[in-house]
Structure formats: C-alpha cells, structure tokens
C-alpha cells in the first residue's frame, strides 16, 4: 500500500512538470495555431541558466530561477519574432518545420556554449524530505514544491485568461484573429505575450525537472518536451484544464508502467494509452468539438 502511494506521489510530481510544460504548448497552439516544437529546448536553456547561476555564480536558488524565467521569457519572444512571425501567413507545414529547426538550433547552440558533458544540477529546493507514517512514506521537498507550483500556476493562469482584459483578448485571438483586430486588439502583441508566458513557464519546469532528475545535458528538454506535447494532446490541445489533466495522467501512467509493467516498456504504454484515447475522443479528453452555427 505504501509503495503504491509512493508511486502515485512520484507520478503526480512528474505529471505536474509535464502539465507546466504542456501549458506552454497548449497556450501557443490555442492562440498562434502552431506547434512550437522548440518549447522543450527552452526548458533546457532555462535549466542551464539556473545551473550556472546557482553553481558557478553561487546565487541563491530563488534568484537562479527568477533569472532563468527572465532569460527564457525574452528567448521565447525573440524566437517568435525572428522565426515564426515572418511565417504568419505561410502554410502550417512550413511553420512546423521551422519549429523543428529552432529546436535543433537551440540544442546545438547549447552544445557549443555549454559542452556535451553532463552537469549535475543542484536541487533548487534542497535535499530535504518529509517522513510520514513512521518513515514508511517519504515525500521529498522537490515533490511538494513541484506539485504546489503546478497548482498555483494553474489557478493563476485560469484567473488570468478568464478575468483580465489581456486574458480575454488572448481568448478572442484564439477564436478569430480577424475579428479580434476589428475590436482593436493587437494580434501580434498578443501572440508575443503568449510566447513570453509559455517560455517563462518552461523555465520553471526546467528548474523543477532538473531538481528531480539532476543530469543536465543539451538534449535534456527534448523527451520531456515530447511527453508534455503528448499530454497537451491527451487532455485536448488548446485547453488549460486539459493540459493539467493530460499532464497528471501521463505522469501517473508512466510511473505505474515503470513500476508494475516494465521500465523499458513504460513509454510504449504511455503512447498506447494516448492512441486509445484519441481513437475514442479525437479532440482529447477535454477538447472542444466545435460545431459552427450557420
């Protein structure tokens, strides 16, 4: 029973990281209608910034995370301006290939800048743990912080899109960019804001991910990036609660598959579940089936 609980908690913790990354995919998809495959590599950049700030410059972990958020936010805006904005009216395939190109560019830039040697990432929340039930159940501080961060981010983002003027403008852009322009909404600025938010979240995800799994290399972001993209599709891409649900389910399924089925087959199990869900619900678990009235 206790081992089951332990696995469940690790699953939720991993799922929370996936959910935070998936938010970046889902928000950008919702508004710019593109899949930003470079998102996973922004996580990696965030993790490196955080690593250097803490290990080399011996700044406090909080400052390291804030610095990583700042750098990634700017990086996200710059990527959008230079790589995606010129393709605003290009076919979606061109944008997709560009995104893959940006992903490789970031990985190779990281290889040049930071070398392929793995770095040991210092946990941003220390190595402490909480022991429950006479030590039968241990929960690390990283896990607690990760889950809390995920919950807070979800609440803040939901309130942001539901109640603020910019949040509502983002929803309007995601539905109809032409009509949004007629309202006086600056669509390009709105897309920039979306990339900024998504990339800032990627930095947080990078710091949390590497605190739990401390090996940092230039390709650290790609697998979690793909898993989080899967989570976004699983929950219904474009939907914020969908990203949360998809992320959590994916994390829990992955950990359980590792624990009870096979470590090697865990990813196969995860993707098999995705395929089954999409066969039954093509728009994802919480995706909206939009029917237009004529």
């Amino acid at each position: 029973m206790m081992t089951f609980l332990n696995f469940l908690i690790s699953g939720i913790s991993l799922g929370s990281i996936y959910a935070i990354i998936a938010l970046g995919y889902t928000m950008v998809y919702g508004i710019a209608k593109m899949l930003n495959f470079a998102h996973g590599d922004v996580i990696m950049v965030g993790a490196y910034i955080c690593f250097y700030a803490i290990s080399r410059f011996e700044l406090p972990p909080v400052v390291g995370v804030v610095l990583a958020i700042a750098v990634c936010t700017v990086l996200g805006i710059v990527i959008e301006r230079l790589a995606y904005k010129p393709l605003r009216s290009a076919p979606s395939l061109a944008v997709l290939i560009t995104a893959i190109g940006v992903s490789y560019f970031l990985q190779n830039a990281a290889l040049l800048l930071w070398s392929p040697n793995p770095k040991v990432f210092p946990s941003v929340v220390g190595d402490g743990k909480v022991e429950l039930f006479d030590g039968k159940l241990t929960v690390s501080h990283v896990t607690i912080v990760t889950i809390t961060a995920c919950v807070i981010i979800m609440i803040v983002l939901t309130l942001f899109t539901e109640t603020t003027k910019i949040g509502k403008a983002m929803r309007a852009c995601s539905e109809d960019k032409g009509a949004a322009q007629l309202m006086g909404i600056n669509v390009n600025a709105t897309i920039s804001i979306t990339f900024a938010i998504g990339s800032g979240l990627a930095a947080i995800a990078g710091a949390l991910l590497c605190s739990a799994y401390p090996t940092l290399i230039p390709t650290t972001g790609s697998m979690p990036g793909i898993k989080a993209f899967t989570a976004a599709v699983f929950g219904g891409i474009g939907s914020i609660p969908g990203a949360l649900l998809g992320g959590l389910l994916l994390g829990v399924i992955e950990i359980f598959a590792k624990a009870y089925i096979s470590t090697q087959l865990s990813d196969a199990v995860v993707f098999a579940v995705l395929i089954i869900v999409l066969l039954v619900k093509p728009a994802g678990l919480l995706g909206k089936q939009i029917r237009e009235k004529v």
Partner: protein, 235 residues
C-alpha cells in the same frame, strides 16, 4: 453636410486577381449609404479594405480628414470606424457580455453606460448576457455582432450583409434596428445583397459590379431605376 468617409480610387488585389478596380465614393455625417451588387462584386472586399484587413495599392481612404491608407487594422477602430463583418464572426466560446466587452477593448474607463445602451437596442441580449455566444440563434448572433461594434462608440458603423441567412421576420427586425440607429444619428455604411431592403432604408446607394461602381443615386432613385429592377429586384 460634412463628409466623414471618403474613398478615392482604391484598387485591391487577391494575389493576381484584381478584385476592386479603382472605386471612389463618400459617406456624409448621419447618412445611411448602401453598396449593393451581386456575389463577388467586391462589396465585402471594399469594407474589409476600409477596416484595414486588406490594403489598397493606390488611392486613399480619408476618415474624418485622416488618411487610413497604411494603418494597421487594430488601430482603425479607436479612430471611430467599426465593422460588423460578414458572417457575424462573434466570439462563439465567450459569453454575450464578454463579446460586448471585447467591442469596447480600445476604450478606457467605465463601459457600463454603453452596455446599458446596447442592451436598450437589443433587450434579448440582456436576457442572455451570461450565455455563451455560440448557443445564440442566428438573429441573436447578428444583434450581438452589431452591439459589439457599437460598444466602441463608432462615428461610422459598417455593416456587411447583416441580413444574411436570417428568416424574413428577423431581417425586418434587423432593418428596424438599422433605422433606429440612424434616427439616433449614427452614420451607417451598409453592404447588402437584399437590395430592396437596403435601398428602402438608405439615403444614397452605389451599385457594384465586378469590382466597379456602375450606378449611384438616392435610395428612391435606385429603387425606381429600371436597370436595378431588372438586375436585383426581379422585374
């Protein structure tokens, strides 16, 4: 009367297709001016160009003495020119009230007086203010699209096919609202395929054919014109 909107020799292309071929017309303060013509005559293209969604290669679009030529679409509405686009294009997943708030996006300060005014024109929207716009009927969606445009307090409101796809009784209701707006002093540029209805409310009209203006006159003149009767009014 003072001219608020003056279109001078605009040419618009879709790739290599020359959709608007050097048209010029004007709208004076407080008028209802209508552009009528068949499908593909370039009526909607003209409105979209004025609203900044498309660009003209030549000529000028003067609004209240200012050239709108190369202005970005999102800057036009705050100058006092609002477009109710073809097919309504309301935000289907947002509530009625949120749609109206989006209409007032460029406005600063309190908008509750404007909300009340729009709900005054369209009482049915008030009953449904919390409803998601996608659940409204076609006529209600058209009212919402018009209300949304009014929220920006426009000097001129451009309506693109407001009667499209509506039952005759609703068409009548929409045209009553257009008359009502007119009586309150709103300047209206109306694009319609329903020539009869459009000409009967309009002060002046222009007839478009394949990207050109081929005829113009007062609403009554055009209604009585034999060419118009033959082409658009069935006899």
């Amino acid at each position: 009367m003072e001219t608020v909107l003056k279109i001078d020799d605009i040419n618009v292309y879709y790739g290599s297709i020359h959709a608007i071929k050097g048209i010029s017309f004007d709208v004076k303060k407080g008028e209802i001016v209508t552009l009528i013509g068949a499908n593909g005559a370039g009526k909607s293209t003209t409105l979209n160009t004025i609203a900044g969604l498309l660009n003209s290669h030549t000529g000028s679009i003067q609004f209240m003495g200012e050239n709108l030529g190369k202005q970005a679409a999102h800057k036009i509405v705050s100058k006092g020119l609002a477009l109710v686009p073809e097919g309504r294009r309301i935000f289907l997943q947002m509530t009625v009230q949120e749609n109206l708030e989006m209409g007032a996006y460029t406005r600063k300060g309190d908008i509750s007086a404007d909300l009340e005014k729009v709900y005054g024109y369209f009482p049915r929207l008030k009953e449904r203010y919390k409803q998601v716009a996608g659940t409204l009927s076609g006529g209600e969606q058209q009212m919402l699209a018009m209300g949304r445009a009014l929220m920006s307090r426009p000097q001129v409101i451009m309506l693109d096919e407001p009667s499209m796809g509506l039952a005759p009784i609703l068409v009548e209701e929409i045209f009553n609202i257009i008359r009502n707006l007119h009586e309150h002093g709103t300047t209206i540029l109306l694009v319609e395929q329903n020539a009869q209805a459009a000409l009967s409310v309009a002060d002046r009209g222009y007839v478009m054919e394949t990207g050109k203006i081929v005829l113009s006159g007062t609403g009554e003149e055009l209604l009585d014109s034999p060419e118009i009767k033959k082409a658009y009014l069935g006899g």
